[in-house]
Amino acid sequence: MIAGQEAPVQRPAASPLARPLRLALPPLRPPVGGTATWALLAPALALTVMLLIVPTLWLVRLSLLESGAGDAARFYVPSSFTLAQYRQVLTDPYFGAVVWSTVRLALVTGAVCLAVAYPLAVWITRARRPVGGVALWLVSLPKLTNALVVLYGVLLLLGNAGLLNRALLALGVIRTPLPLFANLFAVVTGEVLLVVPYPVMMVAGALWAGGRELREMEEAARGLGASPLRAFLETTFRLTLPGAALALLVTLVWAAGAFAAPLVLGNPALYTAAVEIHTQTFERLNWPLAAALAIVHLAIVAALAAAALTLHGRRATRRRTSPPALSGLSQVQRAKPALSTAEGCNGRPELVEGMQSAHNWGVRDGSTIGTSSGTRTPLSRERNGVRAAAAEAVDRRVWDRTLLRMSVAARGWSFRDRMTGWFGRSMFHAFALLTLAVLLCPLVFSLLVSLTPEETIGLPAPERGLSLRWYVALGRDPLWLRAFAHSLLTAAVATGLAVPAGALAAAGIDRLPDGARRGVTLLLIAPLFVPGAVLGLQALALSYRLGLWGTPYSTGLAHAMWTAPLAFLVVRAALRVTDRRLEEVARGLGAPPVAAFCLITLPRLWPALAAAAFLCAVMSLNELPMALFLATASNRTLPTLIWPQLRYNLTPIVAAASSVLLLLTIAGLLVAAVLAGRLVRRSERPAGAPDTRGDATGIPSAGVLYAHG
């Protein structure tokens, strides 16, 4: 690398850490030395180490303790040692069933998600300009709102007295209600709705990253005679499979951590490891067993992730896949060197030299696979120097002997073509719109239910009109108000810590040498891949051990650790598309490095920072499992208060509370979008930046980032 040659000149005794960026963009500031780099990374690393690594170690220790055995005052026996918990988890058929239902849910959800997300992402990336962007935001809305809102909507839709059954009964399609609820179908539906935004964004990111290149390749395939669908499958689809495999990875990880969906929509036979951890912690008060379960849960997630990664790796490295219809061709080519008696000379030009002409190929091909080769030009004639004449003859021969089936003239297209094209397109649009509708209908339902004037849950009847009574009730209830205030505080703490830490780490990460960078990146984004229930138990166990349990900031700290990776990813994505050569220009004009960064790069980063802050706040506001584990009377967040209501005591006040969360999220979204849009317009996109279609807040960029690993 040129950069590598330049660096020593500027800083002769560079530390091994100080290496220029390895990115597509040319090297930026000269490396400022190891200390500065690690100083940038320190806050994020501290968050991760203190709040993820240390608790995990404590969790491992906890899982090796004896249980408090029914003694309500003790959750475990300190400084004991036993493998009994693991023995129980691994041998008891009950826990075997739990593990199986976890894995099954993850796999089914993953498969369904990918099947839905891939076509939807294709549709989004090909829709016209405003449509695609809006659709992407609509898709991400369920993820940005409270999971409970979504589940609540699904509950209303699928329950035995749910809207779907009622509608079908009223239409006379069915006579008895369909069993749509408290089964695997319901749980998978709920979980898919919760998880599907991720694969959609990631696949859309991969497609957008391929951009013009993919489009041209697909066009080229069509020009070569592939039907639109075929062209898509042969080029874009094959080439985005690695991205799809990564999307599958994320889907599996999140689905394996499923906590709320099985509890709300399922039955005890469908409860996952996360649910069981919660039960063991709070109902059985058997923390060591819960810890052992958590370790096993982590192992499950890791195994699923490893499987998906292997798939991705195979896809990414195994370019050398021959389409089945053509494998014969490479066989023949591989056979060539063997025929020329040189074994192992495959592909070496000097050895293949003797057979470079078309007719050589023809003859050898014929003899290899037994096609008749009577009419082929003899080898020798060509060797004998009448090459030009022979070549001309072959031109004429090949050109004249039109391969009959190839004469696909302009007249060869038919009514069928047009019909299949029309039908395919219609189905595609119908599918996409239906999916979008299904994704959004839980949100719409819970909004509508919150406006009911009745005492019981249900859609407001048209003749009774709408009412805000449940919002009023919500506003008068001190319990809800306190939870609301605490949610805001938690979100503020989380955002305030996570965004600076994540942003600094994003600025520092690319100064690390390759190996260290990969390791540190993995460490920094690790919290995203740890199931919420495990994080919750860790936080609970450690804060209990340290005597901090119940302090008001504990949830905020945990959320900061959990959301810092998001801030990191969003800002890093923004940094990578920001043309930092501009910073070099500023430095060439005399600005010192820090000033150059602050004056040139930072202003262009504002949209990303705003987006990161918004994301962190929303995630914190809506997070359930960790908050649930850490909740005491003094620090309940809104979701933790909705949760028991949702499970045991359904009144429309839950819908109102959910709707408040939803509206807050949407309002934040709009503000962020407008803000980011304005900022982006002010500092126009660099010419070389990938077209993220005006999604300035960087969420698709994060998707791109995932897709690139």
Partner: protein
Amino acid sequence: MRAAAAAPESGPAAPGGHGNVAAGLRGVTMRYPSQAEPALRHVTLEVAEGEFVCLLGPSGSGKTTALRLIAGHEQPQSGTVVLGGCSANGVPAHRRNVGMVYQSHALFPHLTVAHNVAFGLRMRGVARAAQYERVAWALDLVRLGQAGERYPDELSGGQQQRVALARALAIEPSVLLLDEPFANLDRHLRDDMRLELKALQRRLGITTIFVTHDQEEALALADRIAILSGGRLEQTGPPELVYHRPQNAFVARFLGEMNLLPAALGQPVPGSGEDLRLALVARVPLAVRPPSGARRGDIVAVCLRGEHLRLAPLSEVSLGAGEGGARHWSGTIELATYRGAATHYAVTLEGGHTVRVVEPAAAPARWRVGDRVAVVWIAGVAHSVWPNGDTPRDVIVAGRQRSTAGEAGAGGAA
């Protein structure tokens, strides 16, 4: 439209002269949904069988759109896309049997070179044995016979482009479309590839449409050049014709180093076969070939090619001023740009116009900025166009000329 009107001028290779229309556009207008202005406005361009046509124009002039229309990747709002003599409107791209080569190559990175080339054959369900022969033939054609097993990213840019060409040729397309195929290659490679392409096209006799913004490339390759600007077809014709007899001010200025000076048409030149007229060009009388329909007293833009002007010391010229009319101007050198084979000068004439002069490297004298020189018109008859064309008239008036000359000097061969 104007091109259609110019049919009698458009030379021997024009359709209708011989052969069928292998591909073309008839009165095509095309507007992208996201854009206000149409990318093509009522363009008619017909390509005869076996003909090599270059679409030439600045970026955004609609060249690539024309190509994509013929390939079937876009549909026109009005007009007809012609393939093999009949309308291809509505025919999907994969039924058109058109070979296209992209600037980015658009090779399939997950397939070997051989599989790339075989792709079109596979799509047509060609028997395997025939596929081998065909792939081998196509790869041999582009001198990559031994590269079949390699992957596109293992090849150099030039080799990739050759594979793309082989892939397009393997399906035996009725028309070969090339969209700035050599733009990403370095100069020497580009020259080689041009020669190779031209030889191949001759050898196979394949109808070819080639899009480029590089006028040298177009002049070197084409049987016929079609010049586009702002979605309109400005002129079509053989390279020499387009170069020497541009139909309007845009074409005149687009190709080569052209000076356009305004002049009023005077009386007919006595004894000339053609309808030539005298005109006072910056106070110097020249024999001018007027644009069609021009009458005495009309203001036209007289085309003075830079290479038809020479510099000479003032003293020498005034000595010979008596014979053959005083076809020279005196002026001051404003700018000199050395370009190896020639030196380009910007000279401000006494009347205030600035002209660009291309002096071959063999010219006896070197001039410096500020030198007073004579600018001599060495060609016989000067061509002329209507000044108002599509460009505001003031462009050809002094002052502005100066700035364009400055840009040309600074920017090199743009």
